[in-house]
């Protein structure tokens, strides 16, 4: 067991290293650099050279990479050029914001998607399963940009909810800071959770239906065991398998933030940071974001594999 964990940990470390290095390389390959981004098209050549020297952008990739590596070993992940702050400060701040959003969305999506999937999986005919299926499919065919835009539009039209940000803007807030945060959380979390719930529902539905068709279920029913009990006791655990296996992936990618949702709802999270960093060719920030993403993913997959072992002892190591 310990050996397994140690191996996973080593792999995770390697993953973080590999992803950060690849990101650094890719950002360098992309045309333009922070100097072009911040100075624009009319900048004088001399000014550009000066700026490049200031930020160390005139070094070769090998030099820059070596420099970054050496500092990373001391846990100094460099400074963001666009925000002029240490990367190690910026990322946890944004990651925490994304985490709040991600956890809420995940919770909502799981609470909604899995039970609904069980319902549609065990009952093929009927109005309720059909409605649920239709809603799921609708959500899956809408791009996340559109879903968030729609929700923000809806919030604007009805005026019930704030349109963006994380709260705390106005001086007088009824109910305190927590209520304010929750109010601001509703729109972005809904935008994230709805397609996710749809995905869970679809997968769960499929797995459920398959399991119910298994011989052991049929046998149990034949023996006279009440259907509900069969579903709960036997079928459920097996049926949770596919969803659990990708749960880790979902957690990992969710914690890296969704760019579309965060941008439209002005949520200061990691997803937005990642793409802004790419656009600005903010080299160290890009590497830092990629590293953070891989940490989350490694943690997520470990979690998922652990859950899988729990849910399906046959698959245990």
């Amino acid at each position: 067991m310990l050996a397994y964990l140690a191996r996973r940990f080593l792999f995770a470390l390697f993953l973080v290293f590999a992803v950060s290095s690849a990101s650094l390389l890719l950002v360098r390959m992309a045309p333009g650099d922070y100097a072009t981004e911040s100075l624009g098209i009319t900048a004088r050549a001399a000014t550009m050279e000066q700026t490049r020297r200031l930020y160390g952008l005139d070094r070769s990739f090998a030099q820059q990479y070596g420099h970054w590596l050496a500092r990373a070993a001391h846990f100094d992940f460099g400074r963001s050029m666009a925000y002029d702050r240490p990367v190690a400060d910026l990322i946890p701040e944004r990651a925490a914001n994304t985490a709040i959003l991600a956890v809420t969305a995940l919770f909502a999506a799981t609470a909604l998607g899995i039970p609904l999937g069980i319902i549609t999986g065990s009952r093929r005919t009927g109005l309720l399963p059909a409605v649920i299926r239709t809603v799921s499919i609708t959500l899956l065919s809408m791009p996340p940009l559109l879903t968030s835009l729609f929700l923000v539009f809806f919030a604007a039209r009805t005026g019930w909810l704030p349109l963006g940000g994380m709260g705390g803007g106005t001086a007088d807030v009824t109910g305190g800071a927590l209520v304010d945060l929750v109010r601001h959380l509703i729109v972005p979390a809904a935008a994230l959770a709805m397609p996710l719930a749809a995905m869970f529902e679809r997968l769960q539905s499929q797995a459920m239906a398959e399991t119910i068709g298994q011989p052991f279920v049929l046998a149990a029913t034949a023996r006279g065991v009440p259907r509900l009990r069969v579903v709960w006791r036997g079928a459920l655990k097996a049926a949770l398998r596919p969803v659990t296996s990708i749960y880790g992936l979902v957690v990992g990618t969710l914690l890296s933030g969704s760019f579309a949702v965060e941008m439209i709802t002005s949520w200061p999270g990691l997803g937005r940071l990642m793409l802004d960093a790419l656009r600005a060719r903010d080299v160290y920030l890009v590497a830092g974001c990629a590293a953070a993403g891989s940490v989350f993913l490694a943690a997520g997959t470990l979690l998922s594999d652990a859950a899988l072992a729990f849910v399906d002892p046959r698959a245990a190591e």
Binding site: F14, A18, R123, S141, P143, Q206, R241, T253, L278
Partner: protein, 325 residues
Amino acid sequence: MMGRRIGIVLVALWCVGALGAASFAPHTASDHFDGLLNAPPTLPHVRDEAGAWHAPFIYRWRLVDQLEQRYQEDRTTGVPLRWLRGGHVVEGNDQAGSPLLLLGADGFGRDVFSRLLFGARTSLTLSIAAAFGAMMLGGAIGGIAGYAGGLTDDLLMRASDFIIVLPAMYVALALRSILPLVLEPRIVFVLLAIIFAVVGAPFISRGVRAIVRSEGRLEYAVAAASLGAGHWRVLGRHLLPATRGFIAVEMTMLIPAFIVAEATLSYVGLGFPEPIASWGTMLRDASDVRAFADFPWLLSPAAAMFVLVLGLNLIVQDRRPEDWH
């Protein structure tokens, strides 16, 4: 069975529409009418104001306010639809300024319906090809990982983790800088299909791996192995079929995701050049508040995707064994 047939019909509908786009669509993907930006759909009527019956006709749109893009129907004359002319099944009267816009016009004055059909070609072929690629790749990786276990399993899974975590946008941006300025659609297609297949594979491989691992310990698999069946045989004939259901559902989710992702990648320049239409780009261009408030026909690619995904789901889910309650 009933559901399955409906599903096949829905999917076939789009395939036929895409293939026959040149005939079914009254216009090409790039025809634009400059006085009709964001014009609403021209609905065909059969009864005129006076109540008399006619062959199907449409009314023209008159521009009321250019800045607000408001139009009013010109109900004085009906413009009859013309059938089977010039290679088109049906069309309005383009020369007279009353084109047939079944789903209205977009922000450039292009016919949404025609672009939807032509876009189906691009989006459907790309996403289905990529989905199959992801299935092959993911199925193979997941199957091997789940069956072999141990170090192989770990290595393969961590490799797919790497692929998930590395943002595709970075790769696309770097890739775009290597490619020539003017992109050829075929090259873009192949590149996007490969990128999507690779990016989508891990989602499939993880689920396949989990299923294969647990199935692999079931009696029938062990029995088969003990009877001397080779590894590949056990994998191919016994274990992988158990993953069919999961893969099928996963693919129905990957396809719309790919259609949308094509638009996201075109944002960094790795997209189909004009005048090629695609559902993803159409939706991205429509991602504006005005689409919800004033121009809902711009969102028809989402409806189209809905129909497609519904059809796919109906086909897939009816593979289940009979409900037994």
